[in-house]
């Protein structure tokens, strides 16, 4: 089959809506446009039934005991805000301390920073060189004032999967609420709120081949019953935790996307892992001084993050961006002009953060695409190394760290 360009391999940022998901959504824009809160006519009943069905489908994907535990939001960021701020506000009397990790996605970190300005205290537990957080490190960070542990399931850059069940067990033992940011993991690998002891789980539809604009927060109702303060007040929708009209078409799409993920997960994750491994082997065996970022095994099956020493990430993307969508931890590709704090947290040195490239495979990638991407990446990196003064110095045997660089 002929390749179609550009090839998308940036699935940690978003995914395409599955055509089956879109098909399920369409009637809810036009004929079935009712408000699920309209209790007294068929339009409302129809919409309510559709939202209930979606809630059940989404709940099943994460092993929720009761669909009522699923609260629809506008997306992952809102779900994270609602979880962390909601707990912080609700349990303010009990304590003001939160334990999280240094590599949470921006929403998680920024909410914590916001709370710090309000007088809360936050412990950012570091991760090891493989991106794993040490459960003992979390245990040690807990104080008598800790009201929340917030740890991401899998990292959005390096794909490292955290020991969530162990953290859930620790949280239960200490009687602390456990929020998990499941944005990258839900729908891709098994996530089970019951088996893993997760009290709050945030995730989003557009990462699982659903539409943008809808996400969810799982809020445990039993053992323990978790209460959160709402962030948005209004008509008391979503059991008072998130007022605002539920976007029925988006929610229906979210439900369908969840259903599909649950059906295809074993087969799809195995297929993507095989493709990812092929891409990884191709690159690592063809080039010197390339480094895999993150844990080699405890990693999302569709994630690959590699640092290409001596070349800068944005220049790699520039060489590929007409034909390939990938991303980099380079400062030049971030809004903040700082290199990736995730790669930097691994302790590899910020020059390797500038050189990191992330590939995110997805449902619609083919083996031909993977082969093409591997070859083109190697070509572009090789060309850039030929014009890299650092590569030249390294080839001459100069230790780059021995040079007195003058930072601007």
């Amino acid at each position: 089959m002929a390749l179609k360009f550009p090839i998308f391999m940036d699935s940690h940022s978003t995914t395409a809506v599955d055509p089956r998901v879109l098909e399920a959504m369409i009637p809810y824009f036009t004929e079935k446009f009712g408000h699920p809160g309209s209790r007294n006519h068929p339009f409302g009943w129809e919409a309510e039934a559709a939202v209930d069905k979606a809630r059940e489908q989404v709940g099943k994907l994460i092993g929720a005991r009761d669909p009522k535990e699923v609260v629809f939001t506008s997306g992952g960021t809102e779900a994270i805000n609602l979880a962390i701020k909601g707990v912080a506000e609700m349990y303010r009397e009990k304590g003001n301390h939160i334990v999280t990790t240094a590599i949470e996605q921006r929403a998680g970190l920024d909410v914590c920073k916001h709370l710090e300005r309000q007088g809360y205290e936050v412990a950012y537990v570091p991760v090891g060189a493989d991106g794993l957080v040490d459960v003992e490190g979390i245990r040690k960070a807990i104080t008598g004032k800790t009201i929340l542990i917030s740890v991401m399931f899998a990292n959005n850059e390096i794909g490292t999967i955290q020991p969530i069940a162990e953290i859930g067990k620790l949280a239960k033992e200490k009687g602390i609420i456990f929020h998990c940011d499941g944005t990258q993991a839900v729908g891709k690998i098994p996530v089970d709120v019951e088996a893993m002891g997760i009290d709050l789980l945030s995730f989003t539809a557009h990462m699982i081949y659903g539409p943008k604009g809808v996400g969810a927060l799982y809020v445990r109702r039993k053992n323990p019953r978790v209460r959160i303060a709402p962030m948005i007040d209004g008509g008391g929708h979503e059991r008072g935790m998130r007022s605002g009209t539920v976007p029925v078409p988006l929610t229906v799409g979210f439900g369908k996307a969840a259903l599909l993920c649950r059906e295809v997960m074993p087969e799809e994750s195995a297929r993507l892992k095989a493709l990812r491994d092929k891409l990884q082997d191709k690159i690592l065996s063809s080039m010197d001084e390339v480094y895999l970022n993150g844990h080699p095994e405890k990693r999302l099956p569709h994630n690959l993050n590699i640092s290409f020493a001596y070349v800068e990430g944005e220049s790699v993307l520039m060489g590929l961006n007409k034909e390939l969508a990938i991303s980099s931890g380079s400062a030049c590709t971030s809004a903040t002009l700082e290199p990736s704090y995730v790669i930097a947290a691994l302790g590899v040195g910020s020059e390797l953060a500038h050189s990191s490239i992330r590939f995110g495979l997805h449902r619609f990638n083919t083996e031909e695409e993977v082969d093409y991407v591997g070859n083109r990446t190697i070509e572009v990196v090789s060309r850039l190394r030929e014009m890299s003064p650092l590569y030249e110095l390294a080839k001459e045997g100069v230790d780059i760290k021995s040079i007195q660089w003058k930072a601007q």
Partner: protein, 138 residues
């Protein structure tokens, strides 16, 4: 971010990539930036010791597309200039020529630094010989 056509052209067809031996007669080398900042430029000039004119220039750059383009452009502009004229190249000239957006201005600053560093190195190593050669010629 959208790149200007000139940046894309320099990235795709960089001018004067390469290196001179550091001790070659008339060669001045500038190495500026830092790996942890994501930008390192090596810029070299080869000056005719009799005329004081930059006959050739080469670069190697670790950095984003705009950094590569800034240093590539710098080598183009250096060729054929006298050492004194070369001192007059300003980062703003590079910004204007390549239409660099504000977030990329530091790339042009680094290119100017690289030019200045190469010229200073040249003067350290060869400046006196140039003067001697010049006085002999007159």
């Amino acid at each position: 971010m959208a790149y200007s056509e000139k940046v894309i052209d320099h990235y795709n067809n960089p001018r004067n990539v390469g290196s001179f031996a550091k001790d070659l007669a008339g060669v001045g080398t500038g190495l500026v930036g830092a790996p942890e900042c994501g930008d390192v430029m090596k810029l070299q000039i080869r000056v005719n010791l009799n005329t004081g004119v930059i006959e050739d220039a080469k670069f190697k750059t670790f950095g984003c597309g705009s950094a590569i383009a800034s240093s590539s452009l710098a080598t183009e502009w250096l060729k054929g200039r006298s050492v004194d004229e070369a001192m007059k190249i300003k980062n703003t000239d590079i910004v204007n020529e390549l239409k660099l957006p504000p977030v990329k201005i530091h790339c042009s600053v680094l290119a100017e630094d690289a030019i200045k560093a190469a010229l200073a190195d040249y003067r350290d190593k060869w400046g006196k010989k140039e003067a001697v050669a010049g006085s002999k010629a007159s």
